[in-house]
Symmetry: C2
Subunit: 424 residues, 2 copies
């Protein structure tokens, strides 16, 4: 009767799976986010196939073209997942003060730079011989190892109630800078692969745009809100502060994505801007239900895209494990080096928190695939690497914080208004 019956059913199944998994993992004293990811793997098209099948209505919309209907579902899932992670990072931004970030800014920059250089250089150097393949392939794999995908770390740090800790702030700051650097590396690699050369001017323009965007939002946006407040009393629309905050979230996410940054970076910056407003706690309180509704979709849908059959191929799996090890050790080493001077636990938390690779690595790899620079097995290797570096984070971070003797800030966090609300 209606083209979206199947899609509504999918949304229900995804949310149900997320909640069952969260419940089971809470009872097992494990991070619920891992439950959500695994639930996604289970119900996804590569396992039970409970979601992602276009129904007759949707297929009819595409004039009987099943493949197009499946692509449409993929695009829909992608958008809903993206909305979920945008809300997640916006919320984390709301909990983050610019001043606190700037206080760790130099350290975050160091962590980001070393955390990008180490995987790229060592990845390139080690992976080349490992693959026994041409230079361009090693460059692509090195580039795919670069970018941290901070979504899962942000979620785990929130779940643990330590989002305001020094380590969390360094991770978030480093993630913003890391994303800018990753974008520059992507542009360089794309130039090398397509034209064989790199235009310094073009790279400079791309980098300048990203730095300007970030700097403008953080310094001018937050500064203006801090100094002058929101002053939305003149607006007659209902609940203007919340509406304007949501507008900024969507707008800065779209803007960040359109200049080549991750959409979540824009959403995080939007959150930071509104964290300077007096209405901050009220905004957090109102954003929380949207978080609880949309964020699980990101993790379940992400899980559903994992093709676990890749793990069955011994050759691919061995190579993938080796490259995952390179990915983990280089990020741990690079970011850890940037953290020198802190106690070992903080070094480890930041190193592990920066470890997950996500979309950007897959974008690099699929670009390489489409340009013929890497073969499809290596693409599979990158997929496995991004899955494993993501899965390793929640339990290890949890362990690092659980045994932390110096963790009063966890309790402190709970005194923030969000902490008084139904627990996240």
């Amino acid at each position: 009767m209606n083209a979206s019956v199947g899609l509504l059913y999918d949304l229900f199944v995804i949310f149900l799976a997320a909640k069952i998994a969260a419940e089971v993992f809470e009872r097992l004293h494990q991070p619920p986010v891992i439950g959500e990811l695994l639930a996604g793997v289970l119900i996804g098209p590569y396992a039970l196939g409970l979601i992602g099948q276009p129904d007759a209505g949707l297929i009819a919309l595409f004039g009987g073209n099943v493949a197009a209907a499946e692509e449409a579902i993929e695009a829909i899932y992608h958008l809903i997942a993206e909305l979920g992670v945008i809300v997640l990072l916006f919320f984390v931004g709301l909990e983050t003060r610019v001043a606190d970030m700037l206080r760790v800014g130099g350290r975050a920059a160091l962590v980001a730079v070393l955390g990008v250089v180490a995987p790229f250089v060592l990845g390139f150097a080690l992976v080349g011989p490992l693959l026994g393949h041409p230079q361009l392939e090693a460059i692509f794999v090195g580039a795919a190892l670069v970018a941290t995908s901070v979504g899962i770390t942000a979620r785990v740090l929130r779940d643990l109630g330590v989002i305001a800790s020094v380590e969390s702030r360094i991770i978030l700051g480093a993630a913003v800078i890391d994303d800018i650097l990753a974008m520059i590396i992507l542009a360089i690699v794309a130039g090398l692969a397509t034209t064989g050369s790199v235009s310094a001017l073009q790279i400079g323009l791309i980098a300048g745009q990203a730095v300007l965007f970030t700097g403008f939002v953080v310094l001018v946006g937050s500064g203006a809100v801090r100094r002058f407040g929101l002053h939305l009393d003149a607006l007659r629309m209902d609940n203007a502060p919340f509406a304007v905050a949501l507008l900024a979230m969507l707008g800065l996410a779209a803007l960040a994505a359109s200049i080549g940054l991750a959409a979540i970076i824009g959403a995080f910056l939007a959150g930071m801007v509104f964290a300077e407003a007096n209405e901050r706690y009220e905004l957090e309180r109102q954003a929380l239900p949207i978080y609880q509704f949309l964020v699980p979709f990101f993790f379940v849908i992400t899980g559903s895209q994992v093709n676990w059959r890749l793990f069955l191929d011994g050759g691919i799996l061995g190579l993938a494990l080796a490259i995952t090890l390179v990915a983990l050790l280089t990020k741990l080493g690079g970011c850890g080096l940037g953290m020198l001077g802190y106690r070992w636990r903080s070094v480890a938390i930041v190193g592990v928190g920066m470890a997950p690779r996500g979309e950007v690595g897959l974008i690099v790899a699929s670009l390489g695939l489409s340009l013929g620079a890497i073969p499809s097995e290596v693409f599979g290797v990158v997929v496995i690497m991004s899955v494993l570096t993501t899965l390793v984070v929640p339990p290890v971070l949890r362990l690092l914080y659980a045994r932390d003797p110096a963790r009063p800030h966890a309790a402190e966090d709970r005194t923030s208004p969000a902490g008084l609300l139904p627990e996240l």
Copy 2:
């Protein structure tokens, strides 16, 4: 860099247009929802075309097939709009007590039945000669005039703060019954058009399923929650009552849609079930931000689908105005007859509140179109009818309530927790 940049930008533009329109219409002392609909017309593909254009990333996902990418955007918009109106009716359900509904149940049934019979019979009788066309065509047009689309009325009643009034409860109850009746008529018409006959058994099965679903949810679901409470303390997941309520919303919406009812009927019933829980006000408080985020998408996207060029064709427009008049007068007359005994203002409020036709009318018409039972101009006529019957509702309802001497319940409503929150 990412297939959803254009879609994120669209979401931003839609939300921005909604908020600007709401602000302007609030200042003009007009219902913001009309502003949202008109903003949708303005930015939609038939006017400025600010949204709905697939970007290169999305087109690439469909292997360069622009038409498929456009269909995908349509499917995505449809789902997001549907989520918005599902949240709207779920919220309205949370504000509706089963006991209050049952108290007006007989009256609501009378309003629904007469409000369905009058447009169908008179539509069939009057439209036949008007079109000078075969019987089957008149049957289809009559059927397209039947179903009330209660989304806009629910929104206006909430905006006016009168959702708990007797008239509102009669409208909501009648809308549920109306939807069941419309589904039965759709099944009959579809049978007539495809096989030339109607299987009483099949119609009985369809009707029985719908009645069972509604009765079970309302009586058993609500009764169980009222008597035993939610008792979700044993669940370890975060904020279990809200999670379970959202699950019920998605699940009953999908279930309603899968048995041929409108998804919003399922969502409304889910809300009514949770309105019996002790956690009711807390659930309302948490559902409100999701309402504020998602509901505007429904109205702007609905507006964006209006092809105003249809209004430029004098022949179609004249016929459309005549049929719109039939649609309005028959619903007003039928529902008004069902309200006999109430003061004239209540009669008018229910008659006008039941007037908007939406998706079901378009489904009937497009079924007729695809079966060759109606020509494309008549489809255009039905589209115009559904737009006009929708646009007429907010200003008239507002007028009817504004001059109502007996409107203390409006102030009363504001004492509910939702009323204490930032105004909707």
